[in-house]
């Protein structure tokens, strides 16, 4: 091995690296690497410029061979792609992470308290914590859930909470995903690929492990078995092989050692859910479902749908089955509800929110609407119930026609939109050709809640691969990175 003196002071791949006017995950607001990124910075000094690129190409091949692919929904052909992978990890210090963990636990507790309330007494509406119209016009509010008591009062067992970092380096919640958040398999696979292909980068760094995620998920699901049953039969429910996250569904089922079922595999007899097996019918107690509310039970939600398991909601109501996450949880991640989550934390928990959020304006409220329409060119407008970066307006970058289009949409259907100031997401050094350039990132940790709360130290860091772009979604050309919590 070459002596330290022969290595360049600045890693060749970081020559001329210039972060724009925002927070950088490696350099903060300054020029020198942050303490938690110091070891990585040093390790990179030993990498010739082309070597990272070469190994990144190998990594892409590994992803393809393993079959870690997603399909684009907008793509008629259903072509399988791999999400571009960048080998430079995003680094979070242990202390930062511990603070995030407390904030995330608090947030998920509050969201679950809100869901219990909204499907039972609705005290929050009586006390004016949020306006009634938010709930009653919410696309994901499910009347069929009223009066159903999920085990331990938990509706959202798995929450994917998207965090961003503003120009001052403050973490903020950008949005909550409490229906069927996806992406956790990338967190796990990214780490595996990194240890396989970039072992040098791990030397001299104490990185917290993420390997136990499936184990924690299984423990969470077991703890919410109906009637406190000790050894429940568990399955993962997927819409099927053509779903964009199918790989992840299969992977999680395999890692937990439980069957992966499709709606056709299930049937309900006398308020009990069963699987069709080679031996006959076998009962199920807990289903980790990765299928939308609309397609769970055609008897309850979509009579026109051929998909789903007729009668599943009867089993839920009879208390013989737990669905994780519960149907109707989506009212909590409506982007309009988002504005009220800090109030939920105060109202239900009697605590001050530990995590900052992003200021949010609601066109459905008259004063807000006036403000939004006057400042449309400065704001980001999002559809209340879209995901994947669809249905979005970035005011500062929009054409006059786009602005006019959104103005009309907002006036026509104010309930369906929210507006927020544009946040300069933090950047992270990212492979572009054979050098590293700053690219904007966000972070999605996966928070679990059953009898206990848990969170593996890591998450999915998504990166906007186009220079200057603030949209990190894989459907919009985003990539992913490993996330290191470093002590």
């Amino acid at each position: 091995m070459a002596g330290m003196s022969t290595l360049p002071a600045v890693p060749p791949v970081l020559e001329g690296y210039a972060a724009p006017a925002c927070f950088d995950e490696m350099f903060g607001a300054g020029q020198a690497p942050l303490p938690q990124a110091d070891a990585l910075y040093s390790a990179l000094r030993a990498f010739p410029a082309d070597e990272l690129q070469r190994r990144a190409t190998v990594a892409e091949r590994v992803f393809r061979d393993v079959g870690i692919t997603f399909t684009l929904t907008a793509d008629e052909e259903g072509v399988e792609r791999t999400i571009p992978f960048c080998p430079i990890p995003r680094i979070v210090s242990g202390a930062e992470w511990d603070a995030l963990e407390r904030g995330l636990f608090q947030r998920l507790r509050a969201l679950n308290a809100f869901l219990w309330d909204i499907y039972h007494e609705q005290y929050c509406l009586r006390d004016g914590v949020l306006p009634r119209w938010v709930v009653y016009t919410g696309r994901h509010f499910q009347r069929a859930m009223s009066g159903i008591d999920p085990a331990l009062g938990v509706y959202t067992h798995v929450g994917g909470i998207d965090l961003i970092r503003d120009a001052a380096g403050t973490y903020r919640v950008l949005e909550d995903n409490v229906r069927t958040p996806s992406g956790v398999s990338y967190m796990l696979q990214n780490r595996q690929v990194m240890t396989r292909l970039f072992p040098e980068l791990f030397r001299g760094v104490a990185i917290r492990s993420v390997d136990h995620y499936a184990d924690r998920l299984l423990a969470t699901l077991r703890s919410v078995a109906p009637r406190g049953q000790a050894d429940p039969a568990i399955a993962v429910l997927t819409p099927g092989v053509y779903n964009s996250a199918y790989f992840e569904h299969a992977y999680l089922a395999q890692q937990m050692g439980v069957p992966l079922v499709e709606p056709d595999d299930l049937l309900v007899r006398a308020d009990r859910c069963y699987m069709r097996t080679t031996r006959g019918m076998e009962p199920l107690d807990v289903i980790y479902r990765r299928i939308d509310d609309d397609y769970i039970d055609p008897l309850t939600f979509r009579p026109d749908s051929m998909l789903g398991v007729p009668g599943l909601m009867h089993a839920l109501r009879a208390g013989t089955l737990t669905l994780a996450n519960a149907p109707g949880a989506g009212i909590a991640d409506d982007k309009v509800t988002y504005r009220f989550v800090p109030d939920f934390i105060r109202y239900y928990l009697g605590e001050e929110p530990l995590l900052a959020s992003v200021e949010t304006f609601l066109p459905a409220i008259e004063d807000d609407r006036r403000f939004i329409l006057e400042n449309l060119g400065e704001l980001v407008v999002k559809a209340a119930n879209e995901s994947g970066g669809y249905g979005m307006l970035m005011g500062p970058f929009a054409t006059r026609a786009e602005l006019a289009d959104f103005r009309e949409k907002i006036v026509d259907n104010p309930r369906n939109y929210i507006a927020q100031p544009l946040i300069q997401l933090s950047t992270c050094p990212t492979l572009a050709g054979n050098r590293l350039e700053p690219r904007h990132v966000d972070l999605r940790p996966y928070v679990l809640m059953g009898a206990e709360q848990s969170l593996v130290p890591g998450g999915l860091t998504r990166v906007a691969l186009r220079a200057g772009s603030l949209v990190v979604n894989s459907s919009q050309g985003g990539g992913s990175k490993d996330t290191w919590v470093v002590d």
Binding site: L260, M275, R276, T278, R279
Partner: protein, 322 residues
């Protein structure tokens, strides 16, 4: 085990085996036709298409049965449901649905196999002749079979995969023999040594040449080849061996599930094993070979139908895009 999972295992076994055998059919006939005169080559290629039973699909897509067209149709044609490419696509789709139940090694090997074939171009394949490509397919199939048997627990899913693999093999070996049965019907169509060459090629297509030489002494005759590939108990591609494996897998499945009695699929498989084992090769057997093989394939289909009815809740086989 979920019926859908068992069914997918079964079809992984069948489709991979079918892909391999389609390559074998092309391989054996390619060399057979090469040794005949050019004048006869188109009818000879047509008989290859007839072996697969997909004449209509072929005629809808190609003007005439040239060497190039037939190779394209059998190997890479995306529209032909029984091409090597389509079989591997179907096997991979089935495997994708049960990724949580098969070993990662199995999935990765099958995925690699699929990519090797899907990236091929028929013009490139034909530059070297199809032999090299067919050998690649055979080797990849052998590798995959080894990975399956050595990395998957030998549980119910593996047993269904085996049942599928050997049921397909029994039927395809019968078809390979049938493709040559026509030769017997017109013995005047060429010199005797040419016919002997073709029967040697049949043995080679089933990787059976050396085994046949060692196990059955004496000269190579059509009857010796047919007898070997139908009923040689020790040879893993013979019909008897394959059907006995199906019978064994079904027996083990019933034991695993604690099911009483034989059930229809096992009874059909047992009957066919016995019928093969006690085949009477005397008298007019070789003259009625085609009819015999036809009935053998029909019996294989009955076993397949019975498996579907008994274990898969009677649902239809997986189809691409279904």
């Amino acid at each position: 085990m979920l019926s859908r999972v068992a069914e997918a295992c079964y079809w992984v076994g069948r489709y991979v085996e079918r892909a391999e055998n389609v390559a074998r059919i092309l391989d054996v006939n390619y060399h057979g036709v090469m040794e005949n005169s050019a004048a006869e080559s188109q009818p000879a290629w047509w008989s290859v298409v007839a072996t697969t039973g997909d004449e209509e699909a072929f005629l809808a897509r190609y003007p005439d049965p040239t060497e190039f067209n037939v190779a394209d149709f059998l190997l890479l044609d995306r529209e032909n449901h029984n091409s090597v490419f389509s079989c591997l696509t179907a096997a991979r789709e089935s495997a994708r649905r049960i990724r949580d139940r098969i070993s990662s090694e199995t999935w990765e090997e099958l995925n690699r196999f699929y990519h090797v074939v899907s990236r091929q171009n028929i013009k490139v394949v034909m530059m070297d002749g199809p032999y090299a490509f067919c050998r690649t397919v055979k080797n990849a199939a052998h590798l995959l079979a080894g990975v399956i048997d050595n990395t998957m627990p030998h549980d119910e899913g593996w047993l269904f995969l085996r049942a599928g693999r050997y049921l397909e093999r029994a039927g395809m070996t019968a078809r390979i023999l049938d493709s040559q049965a026509a030769l017997l019907r017109r013995p005047e169509s060429g010199p005797v040594y040419a016919a002997t060459h073709r029967w040697i090629a049949v043995l080679k297509s089933a990787s059976a040449y050396e085994a046949q030489r060692k196990l059955s002494h004496g000269e190579i005759s059509p009857e010796a080849v047919v007898r070997f590939l139908l009923t040689r108990e020790e040879f893993p591609r013979s019909c008897l061996f394959s059907v006995a494996e199906v019978e064994g897998a079904l027996h083990a499945i019933r034991a695993t599930l604690g099911l009483q009695g034989p059930g229809r699929a096992l009874r059909e498989a047992g009957e066919l094993t016995a019928r093969l084992r006690y085949t009477d090769f005397d008298g007019t057997f070789m003259h009625e070979l085609h009819e015999y093989l036809d009935e053998l394939e029909a019996a294989c289909n009955r076993i397949g139908d019975a498996i579907t009815a008994e274990f898969f809740w009677g649902r239809m086989p997986l189809r691409r895009g279904a």
